[in-house]
């Protein structure tokens, strides 16, 4: 196996563009306020364990204040505003995000640990595009196919995860605002900084106070938001476990929720696939964003006749993945987001070995400080193994095999999840057949992990309720729309 690799000179992106404050308050009703609890917690750079800032821990009192602000903004300003004016606020936000793209890209890489190449080329441009796309919907809702004059819910509580902090903010805030709702947004505990910088964008856009409120905190903050009696709708992205808890806690209140939850996506390679392209696609499917992707192609299903050739090529390619400094523009794989997540990935990997699968990790040097995990694959995985059934949420790929196309479909669908699936074959009719058989909300054929503001995203089965993005995503924020 060839292991030659070019030596790249370091190409670090400067962090001078980012001005991180030593501490942050809560952004409520257009103002920065101290948390009622007076408690703050650190947000660290997972690549170095450096403390970046101290952010506020919001409790039920702060949540109540934020919900009241959102309610008042909804009643007095946002719901009354001419839709074309609402649209222009969103266009402003999109433009401001583009203007300050570098700043957001650097801050996201620092706070999350993901590579600058990705924040610069994926997270930030997609976030801006999401606002731009939804801005245009704000004054065209009568033409969205949901009847005349569809109505917003009111105040929406939104809880987002740490894997795409700014992008998930955009996926939540843009459609909510475009449809006339106001929001209370809780960023993830480990990645609050880009959401707090987004408050500055709201200021520059002169968004009316209370339309967007940003409350940082931990799980208790999220629970306080979900349980607040004056919330009209919940939108959550995160684990299936927490998604089910949310579904339980709102069961008596009759309010709706959109839930974007876990996945265990099958990436299926048939023997007539373009092998080199498929190898790239599998790499992107599992190692993009350190595998911290709910729709990751974490189960590789290979047709038996190509297994040896494919695994060899995959290992050659994996050995060339550049792991290290997220701010280096050459880096492919950054830091694992937190020590807790690293522990979970390690525990799942150990279970893979214990249960009898064969582990192989790319021979890369890992930094001594921070949280790191080398790109890893398991071969000889069976459907009974935990690493084939449970979400790992890290750079770990489980390889299973199949003989016939129908066996591939059966294995791919043998999961309580149903978020994504990939199909690799040159044969058009086989692609459409597989797309038909797979029980997943997003099917990528001869590609993987592609996202667009115009494309609905969301899962079947225990991967959640509802869609985000595209015309279909608007339904999540309009009463009675499906």
């Amino acid at each position: 196996m060839s292991t030659e690799i070019f030596e790249y000179a370091p190409a670090p992106e400067s962090r001078a563009i980012v001005d991180i404050k030593s501490e942050y308050g809560l952004y409520i009703n257009g103002k920065w306020v101290a948390p009622h609890s007076k408690k703050r917690f650190a947000s660290i750079n997972p690549a170095t364990e450096e403390v970046l800032s101290k952010v506020s821990l919001a409790d039920a009192t702060d949540i109540d204040k934020a919900v009241k602000a959102a309610r008042s903004a909804y009643n007095k300003v946002w719901a009354k505003m001419a839709p074309k004016e609402r649209a222009k606020y969103l266009f402003r936000i999109a433009r401001l995000l583009q203007e300050r793209a570098r700043e957001f890209a650097v801050l996201e890489a620092l706070d999350n640990g993901k590579p600058i190449r990705e924040t610069r080329d994926v997270d930030v441009p997609l976030s801006a595009a999401h606002f731009f796309y939804h801005a245009g919907w704000a004054d065209k809702l009568n033409y969205a196919g949901y009847g005349d004059n569809p109505k917003p819910y009111g105040v929406v509580g939104q809880i987002i995860p740490w894997n795409f902090p700014l992008l998930m903010l955009a996926w939540k805030v843009a459609p909510a605002l475009a449809t006339g709702n106001t929001v209370v947004l809780k960023p993830a505990e480990t990645t609050p900084l880009t959401a707090l910088l987004f408050a500055d964008i709201c200021e520059q856009a002169e968004l009316p106070a209370g339309v967007v409120n940003i409350v940082t905190g931990d799980g208790s903050t999220g629970a306080a938001l979900v349980n607040h009696k004056d919330i009209d709708k919940i939108a959550f992205t995160g684990s299936t476990e927490v998604g089910k808890l949310i579904a339980k806690s709102i069961a008596d209140r009759g309010i709706p929720a959109t839930l974007e939850l876990g996945g265990k996506g099958a990436n299926i390679v048939f023997d007539d696939a373009p092998i080199d392209e498929a190898v790239e696609g599998i790499i992107n499917g599992i190692f993009f964003n350190q595998g911290h992707v709910c729709c990751a192609g974490s189960r590789l299903l290979l047709q038996e006749s190509i297994v040896d050739e494919f695994i060899e090529k995959l290992q050659v390619r994996m050995a060339k993945i550049r792991v290290g400094d997220p701010l280096d523009k050459n880096t492919d794989l950054g830091a694992i987001n937190s020590s807790a997540q690293l522990a979970k990935i390690k525990e799942m990997s150990e279970s893979g070995s214990k249960e009898g699968a064969q582990i192989w990790s790319a021979p890369c040097a890992l930094p001594t400080k921070g949280y790191w995990f080398a790109p890893t694959i398991f071969t000889g995985v069976t459907q009974a193994h935990r690493i084939a059934r449970e979400e790992i949420f890290g750079p770990v790929l489980s390889v299973l095999t199949f003989r016939t196309p129908s066996e591939a479909m059966e294995k791919a669908n043998n999961t309580p999840f149903g978020l994504s699936a990939g199909v690799w074959t040159e044969k058009g009719s086989k692609i459409l057949w597989a797309a038909n058989e797979l029980k997943a909300g997003v099917i990528w054929a001869n590609t993987f992990n592609k996202f667009d503001a115009a494309s609905p995203f969301g899962g079947y089965k225990e991967s959640g309720w509802g869609r985000e993005g595209g015309r279909h995503g608007l339904a999540a924020y309009l009463k009675g729309a499906k």
Partner: protein, 279 residues
């Protein structure tokens, strides 16, 4: 004088008409207190059997062409029309309404089957579409059936209410477990006879009669049930049903006599497919 031949009202599971495995039944009287029938009092085992039948029928029904499903739903309307008198008798006896009012209900139910028959091959066009991606990709979104859906029929308007629940569910390609009106279950079982002679594959619709209090909690907690139309349950039970349903994130919806395509889409899932464009 000739003695009437009375019908034994049984369950409808997997295309067959079994009695309840529990051997139980309950007595129904008309509004004047005259005995009408002893329909089956379905048990939770019957419910589980019905879910198994519905799951087995799902692959075939969801893969039938939309045109074919439309034809079968229209056939249901045809068969229903021919049996109108029987439904009118059952409805007026059990609901205590006039023959005229019962006739109106039957006619509305027939027309509703026709309405949803026509929706089968239109829902993908009206609710799906292509999405303009900022890149060289072809991308489209279509609604697909959810899976096995429980339908708890409205208690009043026994035939029309169950049609409002059932027709959109199977029009969308799902299979169903229907829990009939408790006080007026006979039209549901007579409908089963209609379904059995309408080319509808066995197991696509399974019908249980009995006590909701016994059946609904098991339906709500069943991990092979993907969604429930709870229009026929008292609102006070919503919380309990939704909590049980959260174990597998069931899609649970209540409707107020809605007969729009939304009722189909509530039990469908949007699937989005991407493919690169290039040479």
């Amino acid at each position: 004088m000739r003695l009437d031949v009375m019908k034994t009202y049984k369950l409808y599971i997997g295309g067959a008409f079994p009695r309840s495995e529990s051997g139980r039944s309950y007595e129904l009287k008309d509004k004047k207190g005259n005995f009408v029938a002893n329909p089956a009092l379905a048990s939770r085992k019957d419910l589980r059997d019905a879910v198994v039948a519905a799951r087995s029928a799902f692959n075939g029904w969801s893969h039938a062409t939309a045109f074919n499903r439309g034809q079968i739903l229209y056939r249901i309307a045809e068969m229903l029309e021919g049996r109108s008198l029987q439904f009118i008798e059952e409805i007026s006896a059990l609901e205590g309404v006039s023959q005229t009012s019962a006739k109106k209900q039957v006619q509305e139910a027939i027309d509703l089957w026709v309405w949803y028959a026509g929706w089968c091959d239109k829902i993908s066009t009206s609710a799906g579409g292509t999405n303009p991606i900022a890149g060289p990709y072809y991308n489209f979104t279509i609604p697909e059936p959810l899976g096995v859906v429980g339908v708890i029929a409205e208690e009043k308007e026994s035939l029309l209410g169950l049609t409002r629940g059932l027709a959109p569910v199977i029009a969308g390609g799902n299979t169903a477990v229907l829990i009939a009106s408790e006080s007026a279950p006979l039209p549901a079982i007579t409908l089963a006879e209609v379904l059995a002679t309408s080319d509808l594959p066995g197991g696509v619709v399974n019908i249980l009669t009995g006590k909701r209090s016994e059946l609904v909690p098991w339906l709500a907690g069943h991990m092979e049930v993907d969604g429930i139309d709870i229009s026929g349950v008292a609102k006070t039970l919503d919380g309990e049903i939704k909590r049980a349903g959260s174990e597998n994130l069931k899609r649970i919806h209540r409707f107020n006599k809605d007969v729009s395509p939304n009722r189909m889409l509530s039990f469908m899932e949007y699937k989005t497919v991407w493919h690169p464009i290039g040479i």
